[in-house]
């Protein structure tokens, strides 16, 4: 994640820049004047020519193989499953988002491809099958071995790093989707009149007189 994206996520939208999350160490973006994909609603008003072209080009390309996409889909649904509030990651088209974002931000490509391969090799060693062909219980066992950074075994470190990225991309893909935004309860982005924190909330936190 770029530092400015983390900043935005934290709500510091008025600020020019700043480093807020430890894990964000990438350098400044190069503004390129050549590569894009059609935005989902086809609305290109206010987009620059190079952005439109770039989107188009990225949409026409395929990065992940069918096998890789199948693995991503299983992993994403393990990370964000359907529950009584909303659907699963794949219901929210998270795998499709991941396919796009690795083309858009190529720094993701090598760690994702290599990480998926690492996972398959681990599963083959343990269970004699690639990850997608393992039983659900085997998949959960494998994921459990890499999902908890502080208690994972040292030899699982590469898997932990991969899974952290996979978890981040899944969460971002899910909670920025229509389904995810409804789930998280973001109710803004619509004309209103801001008159301050609601009374009951002020009372809840004892902030009536601040």
């Amino acid at each position: 994640m770029k530092r400015r994206d983390s900043l935005k996520a934290i709500g510091l939208t008025a600020l020019a820049s700043g480093l807020l999350l430890d894990s964000c160490k990438e350098d400044a973006t190069k503004t390129q004047q050549a590569s894009v994909l059609q935005s989902p609603n086809g609305d290109n008003i206010g987009r620059q020519e190079f952005e439109i072209e770039r989107d188009k080009k990225l949409h026409a390309e395929t990065f992940f193989t069918k096998h890789e996409m199948a693995t991503i889909t299983v992993l994403a649904d393990i990370i964000i499953p359907k529950d009584d509030k909303s659907g699963s990651a794949s219901d929210a088209k998270v795998p499709e988002f991941i396919e796009f974002i690795v083309k858009d931000i190529p720094e993701h490509q090598l760690p994702m491809r290599g990480g998926l391969r690492w996972l398959d090799l681990q599963c083959t060693k343990r269970f004699n099958h690639a990850f997608v062909d393992c039983t659900n219980a085997q998949q959960i066992e494998m994921v459990t071995a890499i999902a908890y950074p502080l208690k994972a075994k040292p030899e699982m470190k590469q898997g932990v790093t991969f899974f952290n990225r996979m978890r981040d991309l899944t969460a971002t893909g899910f909670f920025t989707s229509k389904m995810g935004i409804a789930d998280i309860g973001y109710v803004g982005n619509s004309p209103n009149r801001w008159t301050g924190v609601p009374e009951d909330v002020l009372k809840q936190y004892g902030m009536e007189n601040v």
Binding site: D5, T31, L150
Partner: protein, 580 residues
């Protein structure tokens, strides 16, 4: 057909303005309304926020969910450009670093800025006596105040009257109420001895008296995308487009100016430019030339305008053009408030500028660094966009689960999904923006070896922070940590130490660069007089941030607007006297 031809227009404009941001936009507005025949050249495309803003789009309307791949502040941000433009490089020397942000579009960087609109104070204009480190402006706050007042009325700004010595009050619309996180910040900061007051921003929280062309803010919190109803200040919506409507201002977009042309008497006669659409070269004539191309670009234009009368570059007999470049300092810290886990949902988008801030509150005589900073705050239930949920493994192990049990950091599945919901809206962040000392040794010059894709020689930067700025950043970090502690927040961003200059951002990152064509009474030490008129060329003016002698910790835009208006009114008076 293969002959390289420069097309020359016969029209002589009353004024040619280079650049359409805060400075150029204001000059265009004032002069066009006064009836002058004005030509404005803008290096980027035409941009009308009413049509072109990405306002009110949801993240899923961007395939990259708002990531900053092609726009440094995200896919919906209103700045076309960034720190790196394809085909338009800049260089640095002696291992120093300067990051130069350029927005190529009508209105320039004002389309996406934070709208934080602070006046410089009396001590910012006359700061030499504080410690001898800086030069005084040739003008006082009292001389600029009437123009700040007029800018407040013309454009609109919210805030509160506080009667602070060096944080002058303006003519204010009501400020937005604080969000919940901001109440926690205010309480914590005050416990830490840090004063917090309502923000000051150029957003119309109420209708602007006497203005029927602009709508009132509807609180989407998206000023960075620029506003379709013109509820915030952009030079495009509030200055240039109204100026075009007078019929007196013509805008040439995608026109990249090469140099200012001068005649045998040394006066400016016009500019030459390349049309980016077809690479055709042009020359246009004007009775005066006004540069509002940005501190960097205006210096570049002057240094590239070499003639027998101006062998050192135009307006540069003093040799100061390019020198005294300074950007604000910046450092930041982020974390979350455990008290706000599982908070109630409601719309708290508010305005896209700051709801609260901290003006500089200490006395530097008692500190080990010379000048102060202000603090901007943020946080809350924002629209999730690319980056949302990132690094959950660094958060969810820090607090117990709802049932009080210990949580293992990281994870997957239903409990992880629930963690994103729990933490949503609990984050807080703060960032300092401080005074950097203007130094002759921090400068830009023409790189003798490098040209851009139009063949225009590019800028080479030399910029180093000193202990003055580093110690200020250290103080910021200590203050931020103390506020975080007092409000009961858990810090999640890196805590910077001496090895990273306490998180001090590289010069240029705060995008407040000023000072490259400074004003002054002494033509040997300054390029412009106190009216922003070149000492060496009386029909040449500079109206962006280049004339700044010494920036305070205040964001530059409101001062650019006030000075540009002041210069434009001076031009009108001088025209009456037939001296320009």
């Amino acid at each position: 057909m293969s002959v390289f031809e420069i097309k020359k227009s016969g029209t002589v404009y009353d004024a040619i303005i280079v650049g359409s941001g805060a400075g150029g936009g204001m000059a265009g507005y004032v002069l066009a309304h006064a009836g002058l025949n004005v030509l404005m050249l803008e290096a980027g495309p035409f941009f009308d926020p009413a049509k072109d803003a990405q306002q009110l789009k949801f993240s899923y309307e961007s395939p990259r969910r708002g990531a900053s791949t092609t726009r440094p502040f995200g896919d919906f941000d209103a700045a076309f450009g960034g720190w790196d433009l394809e085909g338009e490089p800049y260089t640095t020397k002696d291992g120093t670093k300067f990051d130069w942000f350029r927005a190529r579009m009508l209105g320039g960087r004002t389309n996406h800025w934070g709208r934080i609109s602070l006046r410089m104070g009396p001590k910012d204009f006359k700061s030499h006596d504080i410690d001898g480190l800086t030069d005084d402006w040739p003008i006082t706050y009292e001389e600029v105040k009437p123009f700040y007042d007029k800018v407040d009325r013309l454009i609109g700004i919210y805030g509160t009257v506080e009667n602070l010595e060096n944080e002058p009050d303006g003519i204010f619309l009501p400020p937005p109420k604080p969000r919940l996180n901001e109440l926690f910040i205010k309480k914590g900061a005050e416990k830490a001895g840090v004063k917090v007051i309502p923000g000051r921003g150029s957003v119309l929280t109420e209708a602007l008296p006497g203005n029927k062309d602009r709508g009132v803010c509807f609180f989407c919190g998206q000023c960075g995308r620029s506003c379709k109803v013109y509820g915030d200040f952009s030079a495009s919506s509030c200055l240039v487009i109204p100026a075009i409507k007078t019929g007196n201002l013509k805008v040439l977009s995608n026109a990249m100016v090469r140099e200012v042309l001068t005649g045998p008497n040394g006066l400016a006669t016009g500019v030459s430019y390349v049309d980016k659409n077809n690479l055709q070269e042009y020359e246009v004539k004007g009775k005066m030339v006004i540069l509002g191309a940005s501190a960097g670009e205006s210096a570049r234009l002057l240094l590239n305008s070499v003639s027998s009368q101006h062998p050192n570059g135009l307006a540069n007999s003093s040799g100061v053009v390019g020198k005294y470049l300074h950007d604000s300092t910046g450092a930041s810290l982020g974390g979350f408030l455990p008290q706000l886990l599982d908070r109630k949902r409601y719309n708290e988008d508010g305005v896209g500028s700051v709801h609260i801030y901290t003006p500089w509150w200490l006395d530097n005589k008692k500190l080990d660094f010379p000048r102060g900073y202000h603090i901007e705050y943020g946080g809350g239930m924002r629209m999730p966009s690319y980056g949302f949920g990132g690094g959950m493994e660094n958060l969810n192990g820090l607090v117990p689960a709802r049932d009080g049990s210990t949580r293992e950091a990281g994870g997957f599945g239903a409990s992880l999904k629930d963690d994103y919901r729990r933490f949503y809206g609990s984050q807080v962040g703060m960032a300092g923006r401080g005074t950097a000392i203007a130094r002759a040794d921090n400068y830009c010059e023409i790189d003798k070896d490098v040209v851009d894709k139009y063949g225009i020689p590019v800028l080479k930067f030399h910029y180093k922070w000193t202990n003055d700025e580093v110690k200020q950043a250290k103080h910021m970090q200590e203050t931020f940590q103390s506020i975080m502690h007092e409000m009961g927040a858990i810090v999640t961003s890196k805590i910077h130490g001496p090895e990273t200059n306490y998180g001090l951002e590289a010069p240029g990152r705060i995008i407040h660069e000023v000072g490259t064509v400074r004003m002054g009474d002494d033509p040997k030490k300054s390029a412009l007089n106190k009216w922003c008129q070149a000492h060496d060329c009386k029909n040449l003016f500079v109206v962006d941030a280049a004339p700044f002698v010494q920036q305070g910790d205040k964001n530059a835009t409101w001062t650019i607007l006030a000075l540009s208006m002041r210069t434009s009114e001076y031009i009108l008076e001088q025209r009456k006297k037939l001296s320009v």
